[in-house]
């Protein structure tokens, strides 16, 4: 019966082939050759890009601030290793477009020398605000891929009086094992990071959700949180997209986040395990976020590993370490295979959001040709958001975007489960992404036309007013002239009368 209730708490989803065993037993490697050049994009987070404070030719030490954050939602960027600033210019971004993005290039000196750090011995004596400030200064962002500045979230948690901090250890994407390894090898540090976050938000309780395909991580994390009665590990079913925050929130707390609301509206807030670890390093050791654990996998890679990589390391460097066969590589994916982005080439840097880099062979990727929909409804039963992907796609195909919105297009989370399960290889999620973009474009166009209309109307009004003023002016003048004429005539008459009288 309990299992039935549990089942009700997760909707849809798929159990994709995990492909995690290639890397699940690979310890996180830290002693890897340093890349000669590090490319550090100034925008690795949601919000405004950071503004550089170093100049070309400056010598920097590892952990030194390179660019400070701009405005409320932003994050600073630090030097991932010591060396010289070689360039501050536009370089391709780790994005499918590989469009240029402002980037600081460091030529590493190989010494990997830390700058002076300011560790805190007792983080719990710090002011909660101080915790947020330090987390913000360390450039920590959501490491699960969302890259929302963590300090902003901590502040939000403190202000909105949440009751439970949820920690996402789901790692539901196939192939990826970076969080799994982190939990297995650095469980105490993660728990410490969670405690610091709890302190920073003034919250007592934390729950860590881990998928049941990671029994070792569950056991070790349970052991690590034994001394702390308010931190629990909760085993969640292995089912993509379990890592979708709202899915996990519903599973763990039983409450659903209303559409258009934040998680804090149901009294919870979610952070990733890797973020908790980064916060532990930032507060206890004063280390800013300059490296992260990355899974390198895929059948085109001869070695599949987890490694702690300095931010800015180029993917081709990782590929040379893992001996990726370029002839076999059919697709390079940054992130997991479900929601990750495919990259046009490997000369792009690792950023704070990079949980994995996959070199996938032709056999591994989805290649089938599109066939007609047979209305098997797999997409409907698989959709975690409870949408009707097939109907939405049909409406988008016939350009009825408003109709697609009316049946829930805006509630789509782009998890790709529908495309994954479709036996006819219909690119469902692609339609939804396209439609979402198209809607924005149309709204902008509509906004523009409304603006134009308004301006034209204003101009017409203005012209009318001027005309009217002119007419009034003319009338006034005419009246004045008439008055003057009358006065003149009067005067003349008076003068004539006078003359006549005299």
């Amino acid at each position: 019966m309990i299992s039935l209730v549990e089942k009700m708490r997760i909707r849809g989803g798929v159990h994709a082939e995990e492909n995690k065993k290639q890397t699940a037993n690979q310890p996180i490697q830290t002693e890897l050759p340093l890349d000669t050049k590090l490319y550090i994009p100034l925008q690795q987070h949601v919000g405004k890009a950071a503004e550089p404070i170093v100049r070309v030719g400056d010598k920097v030490l590892k952990g030194q601030l390179l660019a400070h954050s701009q405005g409320m939602i932003s994050a600073p960027v630090h030097a991932p290793s010591s060396g010289l600033i070689a360039d501050i210019n536009f370089y391709p971004a780790p994005h499918p477009s590989a469009l240029p993005i402002r980037t600081i290039v460091i030529e590493t000196d190989g010494k990997d020398e830390w700058c002076e750090l300011k560790p805190v011995n007792d983080p719990f004596s710090l002011d909660p605000e101080e915790v947020s400030l330090r987390v913000g200064a360390a450039g920590i962002v959501g490491m699960g891929g969302a890259t929302f500045p963590s300090a902003v979230k901590l502040n939000l948690g403190r202000k909105s009086k949440i009751h439970t901090l949820l920690i996402n250890g789901g790692e539901c994407e196939p192939y990826l094992t970076c969080d799994d390894r982190l939990m297995r090898e650095r469980a105490e540090a993660i728990i410490d990071g969670i405690r610091i976050m709890l302190h920073g938000m003034g919250v007592k309780k934390a729950k860590i959700g881990i998928e049941d395909n990671k029994p070792e991580a569950i056991a070790l994390m349970k052991k690590a949180c034994e001394p702390f009665p308010d931190i629990y590990v909760i085993t969640v079913p292995t089912r993509y997209p379990m890592g979708w925050d709202r899915q996990l929130i519903r599973f763990i707390t039983g409450s659903e986040v209303p559409a258009g609301s934040r998680a804090t509206d149901v009294g919870v807030l979610m952070h990733n395990v890797a973020t908790a670890y980064a916060i532990h390093r930032a507060i206890r050791f004063g280390e800013p976020l300059v490296s992260r654990v990355v899974t390198v996998s895929g059948k085109a890679a001869k070695r599949t590993i987890n490694m702690e990589v300095p931010i800015g390391t180029s993917i081709s460097h990782l590929f040379s370490i893992t001996r990726v066969d370029p002839d076999k590589t059919a697709r390079i994916v940054m992130g997991g295979p479900m929601m990750g982005e495919s990259l046009p080439h490997s000369d792009l840097p690792i950023v704070k959001a990079t949980s994995g880099v996959l070199a996938l062979t032709h056999d591994e990727i989805k290649t089938g040709t599109e066939q007609p929909c047979i209305r098997c409804a797999s997409c409907i039963s698989a959709c975690p958001a409870g949408l009707l992907p097939v109907d939405m796609a049909n409406r988008i195909k016939s350009n009825q975007l408003d109709a697609a919105v009316s049946i829930g297009l805006k509630d789509c989370i782009s998890c790709g489960t529908c495309s994954y399960v479709c036996p006819s290889n219909i690119p469902l999620v692609h339609y939804f992404k396209y439609a979402a973009g198209e809607l924005v474009a149309r709204q902008q166009a509509q906004h523009k036309s409304e603006q134009t209309k308004k301006l034209v109307e204003e101009r017409n009004n203005r012209m009318e007013r001027i005309e009217q003023e002119k007419a009034e002016e003319a009338a006034r003048r005419k009246a004045a002239k008439e008055a003057r004429d009358r006065e003149k005539a009067e005067k003349a008459r008076l003068a004539a009368e006078k003359e006549a009288a005299s």
Binding site: P258, G340, E364, S419, S424
Partner: protein, 354 residues
């Protein structure tokens, strides 16, 4: 290394349309083989003719529509032809199979735009159209003549039965159980007398009785259906709802008046019910998309079958019931939709509660 960037997901299930069709065909194989064993070479001929002509009609339509003939590989035409053959009288002449396939593929499927576009189940549409157009051929039920039995036709005789007019077929034929019951009841006979010496429940479940080519063995159809469910090709909501509603209706009426209403077990084990429940009504294209919708669909199918069998003009109503509910499917899908996360059934955001 030439890479075209594309958006995720980068992986997909192994499940493809053709593999789904193939697995359904595999699931109906036991019942079909048993039907061929029971009714001999003519049944085999009919299956081949129906399937081949279905594929030919499909090819013809694809050519006409200017679509690539590679679409044939999806296997849907084979499946449609096969399902139709299963529901035909086993010794039906060749042209019944050909005309049936033509109606199924052309009128039932391709005029709507091909796979996935049709409103009605093609096989059932053809079956019902044939029944109305050719009532004699479609109600000629051959006696059970398994391979090896004295009356089993050899291969040549089989070809003659299929391709030539056979005049003295009456000697080998009789009524199906449901047909017999219907006729006798209309002559005011009572059920216990009618069923005496006619019928054992084991035969009915196993299928050693007159009936359509591959619909007689309820057990083998059940096995195929369960296997399909195990393979996650179908879910059991439609079959369960359908069988359960027939069972419940007949249970109530049988309990009320056992002399006039057949027992639920006879209902379940005879006629086209099992075949329709697992292989016809579960057709993706023509059944609702949500589990709740499927339960309504299945239950209504079951009730309609019971009504037609009990009070209708035909002894069996599976085809009619499925077609009627096919017509109701868009309506069911319109009203029964999954609830969107964070919203109530009306689509409004939920109230926040901590």
């Amino acid at each position: 290394m030439k890479i075209v960037p594309t958006s995720g997901p980068h992986i997909s299930t192994e499940n493809q349309v053709s593999s789904i069709m193939l697995q359904v065909i595999f699931a109906i194989c036991p019942a079909t083989l048993f039907g061929i064993y029971l009714f001999g070479w003519p049944a085999f001929n009919l299956l081949i003719i129906t399937v081949v002509s279905a594929v030919v009609f499909e090819y013809f339509c694809l050519r006409l529509a200017g679509k690539p003939s590679a679409i044939l590989k999806d296997g849907s035409a084979i499946l449609t032809g096969w399902l139709l053959a299963m529901t035909l009288p086993p010794w039906a002449p060749w042209w019944v199979g050909v005309v049936g396939s033509g109606m199924a593929i052309i009128i039932g499927k391709q005029v709507y735009g091909g796979l996935g576009q049709n409103v009605f189940n093609p096989a059932m549409l053809a079956r019902v159209a044939l029944l109305i157009s050719f009532p004699v051929e479609l109600t000629t039920w051959i006696n059970v003549t398994p391979f090896g039995s004295a009356l089993a036709p050899d291969f040549i005789t089989g070809l003659k039965i299929t391709f030539e007019q056979v005049s003295d077929l009456d000697a080998y034929t009789g009524a199906t159980l449901l047909g017999h019951v219907k006729t006798e009841l209309s002559q005011n006979h009572l059920l216990p007398d009618i069923l005496q010496n006619q019928f054992t429940i084991q035969e009915s479940w196993l299928g050693f009785m007159r009936g359509s080519m591959a619909e007689t063995s309820a057990v083998l159809l059940l096995v195929g259906g369960i296997w399909l469910n195990y393979r996650k090709i179908i879910n059991l909501s439609i079959p369960t709802a359908m069988l359960f509603s027939v069972w419940i209706c007949s249970l109530v009426f049988n309990w009320w008046n056992p002399a006039h209403y057949l027992s639920p077990w006879i209902h379940l084990s005879s006629g086209a019910l099992m075949c329709a429940a697992f292989f016809i009504a579960t057709d993706y294209v023509t059944s609702p998309n949500t589990v709740k919708g499927q339960i309504i669909f299945g239950a209504c199918c079951g009730i309609l079958i019971f009504i037609i069998r009990t009070w209708g003009g035909y002894p069996e109503g599976a085809g009619f019931a499925v077609l009627l509910m096919n017509a109701a499917t868009p309506l069911i899908d319109h009203y029964i939709k999954p609830r969107i996360y964070g919203r109530n059934r009306q689509g409004k955001p939920l109230e926040a509660k901590e």
